[in-house]
Amino acid sequence: MSEIVLEQVTKRFGPVKAVDSVSFRAEQGKFVVLLGPSGCGKSTLLRLIAGLEDVSEGRILIDGADVTRLSPEKRRVSMVFQSYALFPHLSTAENIVFGLKVRRTPEEERRKRLEHVAEVVGLAAYLDRKPQELSGGQRQRVALARAIIAENRICLMDEPLSNLDAQLRHGMRVEIRGLQQRLGMTVVYVTHDQVEAMSMADRVVLVREGRIEQEGSPEELYAKPATMFAARFIGTPGMNLVALADGPGGAVVRGSADTLFARGGNGLTLGVRPEHVGLVEAGGIRGTVTSSEYHGADTILTVKVGEETFLVRAPGQLAHPPGSAVRLGWKPGMAHLFDTASGRRVPDGVL
């Protein structure tokens, strides 16, 4: 068992509520990602779980036991810091076994575990080096090794990949995920990179201004965003969100004449992902291309429809110079409706 439960946890810094009555559950052996923009309270949440900050209100349970007031070392969690927090004067080996030495693990066992862990993270050749003699990716693996050698069932990670270049980041994503599955750890992982969240998580907790905006599997977040914020945050680029208006035959995109569905559109926002919008020969809604951006595998077209703009992601290279008229269409199930005022999703079936 190694399950983390947060119940109505609030954290105040003076008048600021960095975390505002957050509840979620990280089940045993699951990879849970806390995702959100900068300053939304992800790190604070993680530090609350680790015990590095005091909870203002609410409870934190680990394996059913209330740990809200417990000091960090009694919670038996490991943590990988965003900046790695390696001790600069200690060698890789000393850094990794730091915690074991604190707990007076016998020399023999320490050596065995170190050997094993160094093998797992691929650092066996670097055990005598000081942190400043390692590359960013190697340092990150030292931090990781220090976290897993304790053999705690819970590991917290605060943006461990944010300092790495794109290629290394991809490699480390795969490595961390593999390691977590092999060791069966419960991981709470903080990131503001939605690609990281989508590719690694069993469960994503989307945080906004200290509150949980939406929680679910990556697929759920992608396919059924609960709010406009979630819709915009997930995906590269994020979902097109365009304001609707009342037209003669029903709802239209603001400033356009083509009817979308037979119902008033005032106060609603339509959402369609760029990759779900296609260029069609007939029907659909009419627009004008304003720019096109070639990305290699696909092209992102910016299309003006009425007063709104759509981004269209189309495979290959498209010959649509700015100014050309196009028609946009999408499959019926791919459109989402939101209430503009509250930002919340309008139940499906209206379309």
């Binding site: 680790a50 000091s71 960090p72 810091f81 730091f98 304790a150």
Partner: protein
């Protein structure tokens, strides 16, 4: 000729350096091999005679012993107290700025003012020390007049003055340590003492080396208080090397012997600095 502008730019600084540092140093070394000249007897080459009389001078040996005692008493204590104070004021505590400032205040006072202040503590009968002692029924004591207590009194005062200064360096070093290091240690279950021993202390080593060199130099350089408090007395019990040099040069007007003493002092300081750097550098972690 290409470098003429460079040399021109260097000239003012070079003149000052040569005139006020290098020339006096070399002149002192040369003087130490000559006798002191007077109107009737001009100075003449004396070989190592000055050094021989130095070896036979009981006051020199006493002063050197005093100075070593002074160094041994002030250096480790002021460094340890400075480190403790820095760690204490680096924490989040109420009125932190005020505490830091009050620890630093002794540093900005001139040594002469400090000596006057402590004179008030040490004076027999009316001094603070004796007044407090009297409350507990202790007899009055002439702290500065007793050869067995005078050096300790000097050392306490010097530590009081120096520790705040060294604290600033430690504080700066502590603030450059990322706070995550302590958090990482905390998550691993390290106690504060363990963290200090395994992480803070080693990471402060470069600062400690710097402070150590400074403290050593200061323990031979700082003699201002002797002018106010004891004039080296009683019976040279609190006399220090530099003050003795001053006495020999300007009270006894024996410039040749003063030069000899100066050369010995410089050699001593240089030797100690070299040893410190070589010994400790091996164990210092530089980032």
């Amino acid at each position: 000729m290409k470098n003429v502008y460079g040399w021109l730019l260097l000239t003012p600084a070079a003149i000052l350096l040569v005139g006020f540092t290098h020339y006096p140093a070399v002149a002192t070394l040369i003087d130490s091999f000559f006798t002191t000249g007077t109107v009737v007897r001009p100075s003449k080459f004396a070989g190592l005679a000055n050094y021989a009389s130095l070896a036979d001078d009981p006051i020199f040996w006493q002063v050197l012993r005093n100075n070593l005692y002074f160094a041994a008493a002030t250096i480790p204590t002021s460094i340890a107290i400075a480190m403790l104070m820095a760690i204490w004021v680096n924490d989040r505590l109420p009125a932190r700025a005020l505490v830091r400032m009050s620890y630093f205040t002794p540093t900005i006072l001139p040594m002469v003012a400090v000596a006057n202040l402590w004179l008030f503590f040490y004076t027999p009968q009316i001094g603070l020390l004796d007044k407090v002692g009297a409350m507990f029924g202790a007899a009055s004591h002439n702290w500065l007049g007793d050869p067995s207590t005078v050096m300790a009194c000097m050392a306490v005062m010097t530590v009081w003055k120096e520790a705040g200064f060294f604290m600033i360096f430690y504080l700066a070093a502590l603030q450059s340590l990322p706070p995550e290091l302590e958090e990482a240690a905390k998550v691993e279950g390290a106690s504060r003492w363990y963290y200090f021993r395994r992480v803070t202390f080693p990471l402060l080593m470069p600062t400690t080396l710097f402070v150590l060199v400074n403290a050593t130099i200061n323990s031979f350089k700082l003699v201002d208080h002797l002018f106010i408090l004891t004039k080296g007395g009683p019976d040279n019990a609190s006399n220090l090397l530099l003050y003795y040099i001053y006495q020999v040069a300007f009270s006894f007007f024996d410039t040749a012997y003063a030069s000899t003493l100066t050369v010995v002092l410089l050699a001593l300081l240089a030797g100690m600095a070299i040893i410190q750097f070589q010994l400790i550098e091996k164990r210092v972690h530089y980032r």
